[in-house]
Point group: C2
Chain length 326, copies 2
Amino acid sequence: MKILILGAAGMVGRKLAQRLAKDGRIGGIPISRVIMHDIVMPTAPAAAPFSCECLASDFAMAGGAEKLLIARPDVIFHLAAIVSGEAEADFEKGYHINLDGTRNLFDAIRRIGDGYCPRVVFTSSIAVFGAPFPEAIGDEFFNTPLTSYGTQKTIGELLLADYTRKGFFDGIGIRLPTICVRPGLPNKAASGFFSNICREPLAGKEAVLPVSDEVMHWHASPRAAVGFLIHAAMIDGAKVGPRRNLTMPGLACTIGEQIEALRKIGGEKVVARIRRERDPVIEKIVAGWPRKFDAKRAQALGFRAESSFEDILKVHIEDELGGKIA
Amino acid sequence: MKILILGAAGMVGRKLAQRLAKDGRIGGIPISRVIMHDIVMPTAPAAAPFSCECLASDFAMAGGAEKLLIARPDVIFHLAAIVSGEAEADFEKGYHINLDGTRNLFDAIRRIGDGYCPRVVFTSSIAVFGAPFPEAIGDEFFNTPLTSYGTQKTIGELLLADYTRKGFFDGIGIRLPTICVRPGLPNKAASGFFSNICREPLAGKEAVLPVSDEVMHWHASPRAAVGFLIHAAMIDGAKVGPRRNLTMPGLACTIGEQIEALRKIGGEKVVARIRRERDPVIEKIVAGWPRKFDAKRAQALGFRAESSFEDILKVHIEDELGGKIA
């Protein structure tokens, strides 16, 4: 099995490559080769039992996608994207990578012809939905994105479904929940605090909470996200049917519930490291975000996420902190 | 008021230009100039009280859209499209015109900058929806097109909403019902029979009905379609809000009800000209089409269609047959 990962230098891409290296197989089939691509040079996972190539280029430029397909990968994970904030700030760059790049990749696969029909796993986002929402967003709720990023991801989903319908490849789009707990440094993304208030206190540092305890959001761990990708890579397309884009399962959880889970796991000393400082700008942005989904289809298809925030914290402590809390 | 019509050689584009020529104004404001564009040379309406330019070119080619905007039209009707059957048969041509052409037009407007912010009325289609459907498709039902044409129209809708949100122009997308009774010669489009079984018998000719009397579909007259366009051109964008794409009202009507209306208007001799000859291929295609909508938002915003199939037939007899039935 040959695998191509676009966006392999990102957090989820790296974790996916590490998981593939650890397993050595996908869906029971041995992996012979992994090609890792990004705009900056990705890092191959340590001790991979397969050959691993790392490439850096702009896949959205003419001819950029063709080069990545020379090995005819059986599975293509398309995780490359300009993220929400940057796509909103730089309109042309967002459309260049998120729309033209995705279409270039899809067209490069289509033009190969000769029966080549790889599984393409495309990471979409809950940003394809825009307020106002029902209490829980069902699988048939319509796409009315309120950002350029959400628009571009929705267009990617539509292209994926049409190219799959035409038999050019076999695509599955997965709409990831907000990934929590995100490892690394605190960032200024409006959604950063959901992770910051867990990661920083667990590491002995202070974190700022800019919204009220009642704010509810939709989460899954990085480990769950990698699980979604691997499950999507091997799922039977016939069971998915023509509606190729799936809202992934996740956990709807309030900030108050996040903090309670943190207290159970780390005690009062950890929770005391959260400093409450309301930020009306962030509160307004977050008010327009989805809170909860009813991801029936994906669950029926075997996608699994955490069912408690304690489990999400335990994943972080195991995978990032070597089991230790500060 | 300066108006640009793309797709002005098509049936709806022609009728729109004729209506503008008859009215001389739009929303009470005098029209000074109309630019009619298509891939083939459009025909200016007779006796227009404004200057009328006709242009033929491929607006999807680089630089093609800019030329159409030199006069800085206040209202742009974007009706240009490769139709459903052709977009399905010629994948690249469909994407070239329906996606690249639309995006070129939108980007050409965006690049003008300097506060230029025209109203853009984009004709979308009920092909943005794909089976299975609820009994009546509501305003929040999701887009899962099952054709490349439907995919391209959905992408056009998404771009329209995003460019409007960013303030590059002020767009309204309208999803037209199937237009019935279509004037002209019978065509081989799978949907052609809905019009054929009215137009041909009313003109003294035989028509073939390839499906059962129970088939239900969603109709509006050409006159109603022109009314939608003109209403969309002048509607207050603030009342529409960020969800810029609207399912137009129409009439859900079975073939049996179509024939009954024909009988009331034309009598037994007209109905006798319909020959029943089931075609399993067409039956299968039609089974995947929307049957009925609940177009609440558009109705609340003042869009109006016919409320009986007799009214649809009367429009055809008045507008196309000079009031006379054969």
